[in-house]
């Protein structure tokens, strides 16, 4: 527990809850994201409530040319980076994201940008020979459905990417956790019709930290989504293509 946990996309409610769960265990936290004013508030709050060290940095997953200078700077934090939580994401409007430029934006923010920054994190942790990477993916990445397949494709791509990293980093003792949340009560889902069994961010944050500390590979959260998705993945395509999901 000597190093820092770096949260990318730290002002999302799942990232905030994950930060709380790490802070409650005494971890030092570096919050990175686009909205620096918000991150400063979050960093101050965590420092006061949990009596831990915190810092915040500007980071934009979409602007890949900034990743190298960003990461070169944060890795100089005293004690270095012990773990990375990638919580960057953008749901977009599922209808308009079928077409440019929304399609590009959804793929960029949910897959291309995350893959680029995680590549830097992976090299660093591999050289450090220890630590962890957490990627927040989605159950939407488990099977393509007409209602949100662009987002789903990006998140599914992220899951495959994390799987590859896990395989590569296993000899270096770096754990890679893929988190697949179901419905979580965030700004992204607030007021959306048709949601059920919505989990609180605090619950999800706590599950994420427990899972990474016990070095799990993939978690669905809440847990029953594993079984919902097991069924959805196993519907024969012949049948699935006729469904309106």
């Amino acid at each position: 527990m000597s190093g820092w946990v770096l949260l990318l996309g730290a002002s999302s409610s799942i990232a905030r809850a994950t930060a709380n769960a790490f802070a409650a265990r005494g971890y030092k936290l570096c919050l990175a994201g686009r909205d620096v004013d918000e991150l400063e508030r979050d960093a101050t709050d965590l420092r006061i409530r949990f009596d831990i060290e915190t810092c915040h940095r500007e980071f934009d997953a979409d602007r890949m040319e900034t990743h190298q200078p960003f990461f070169s700077e944060v890795q100089l934090l005293p004690g270095g980076i012990e773990g990375v939580v990638l919580a960057v994401g953008y749901l977009g409007d599922s209808r308009s994201s079928r077409n440019n430029p929304h399609l590009q934006r959804v793929l960029l923010t949910n897959f291309v940008g995350p893959a680029a920054i995680l590549a830097l994190c992976a090299d660093y942790l591999e050289a450090r020979r220890g630590g962890f990477i957490v990627g927040i993916s989605s159950v939407a990445g488990d099977r393509g459905r007409q209602s949100n397949y662009v987002y789903g494709a990006a998140k599914g791509g992220l899951s495959i990417y994390l799987q590859g990293l896990r395989n590569r980093l296993f000899p270096s003792d770096v754990a890679v956790l893929d988190v697949k949340p179901g419905f979580v009560d965030t700004a992204m889902t607030y007021g959306l019709p048709g949601l059920f069994l919505v989990a609180s961010p605090a619950y999800v944050g706590e599950r994420i930290v427990r899972a990474v500390l016990s070095r799990r590979d993939v978690i669905y959260t809440p847990w029953f989504w594993r079984y919902i998705m097991l069924i959805i993945r196993n519907v024969p395509e012949k049948v699935f293509k006729r469904l309106r999901l």
Binding site: S11, S13, D35, D37, E38, R41, D42, T44, D45, I48, R49, T186, A187, M188, T189, Y190, G191, L192
Partner: protein, 450 residues
Amino acid sequence: MVKIAPLASWNNYPKQICTLHRPERYRQFSPDVESAIARGLGRSYGDAALNEGGQVFLSERLNRILVFDPVRGVLRAEAGVSLDEILRLIVPRGWFLPVSPGTRFVSLGGAVASDVHGKNHHCDGSFGAYVSAIQLALPGAGWVDCSPTANPEIFWATVGGMGLTGFIGEVELQLRPIASAYVRAQHHAASNLDGLFDLFADPDRDAPYTVAWIDCLSSGNKLGRGVLMTGHHAALQELPIGVRSRPYDLPAVKALSVPVNLPGWALNPLSVSLFNEAYFAAQARKRAPFIADLRSFFYPLDNIHHWNRIYGAGGFVQYQFVIPEPGASAALRELLKRIASSRHASFLAVLKRMGPAGSGMLSFPMLGYTLALDLSLRDPDLFKLLDELDELVIEHGGRVYLAKDARLSAASFRKMYPRYGEWLAVKNRLDPDHQVTSSMARRLQLGSAA
């Protein structure tokens, strides 16, 4: 995204369709729309945090603590933080809220907007007296900072202003030092109202924290029988030896919960009088001083989650009024007689001595005595009775507490709140189009002349 849904506050009445926003970023917490009110944890009783057909901005995700100085006891936080979260931070470090309402599940912003009071009002005044700064979001004008010295008229229109001067965004508070997380408490029984007033007035019985429970169903020579509960923050040497080494640790309590709405008939004159008999007997037995932890002394009902459900889905109202001194005891006797003879079952009736009024223009407290009762809405004649009680309250120079109100008339409001004109002048200057508004504001016609 937004959510359009029926919304009610703690008493489940009224229930109105509102458009809900739940911003997660501070700068999104802004009333830049036609009709908007901020809402904290929804613990007021009535329509203060409702906006039928308009927008309601929930502050619950804006709950960050921004400053805590453990040496001077100063705390600054976003308005959506609950008093419970504040207590978790400050009690272990030797500080307490300067003023505690009856529940810790209210937001900091709500405590300011209602200028809440507690068991120490007669000694220490209301919540607003300890607020040193407020940041307020105004429609179209961004943020304005105010304090008792900077923009004092905005500050005192906001303290107790029911959230109508703008969105309360950040609040700075002066805390109270404590030697332990415990209170040394004592109960004193009184067989009638005179006895209770004698206890309140007895300097030997006085304490920094006092409150009395009254059995509203007893009449005749037992009218107003009750129990005075007093307490002060326990000093180290008053604690049992076992806890002296860890004076700020609170024992873990297992909270109970009312899982579903009870049927409407569950509370009736018989069940309530049986409860009152049992409660009176149990409390009156505790004659000797005892040590209670902060949570059970200040927030006894917080240990029963969803206690509002005992009133059923139809909800209830709370009627809280204050009668100024002198003359409070005679007036209260008259009001209690009316309530007792109407046989409206009241579960909880709380009597409290209040100190001088603060500076909030629409603040409730004034030097005198306040009585609060919960009344089931099952009886169709209830509002008629309350209108009659309003008349008596006005006759004696008193007022009804807006944070507990769902039915007061615009005319009665004007007779109860003489500083309304002064408040309206500030409101008109800050928000000339009355974009910040609520169902309560429309019911009380807070816009038309005094």
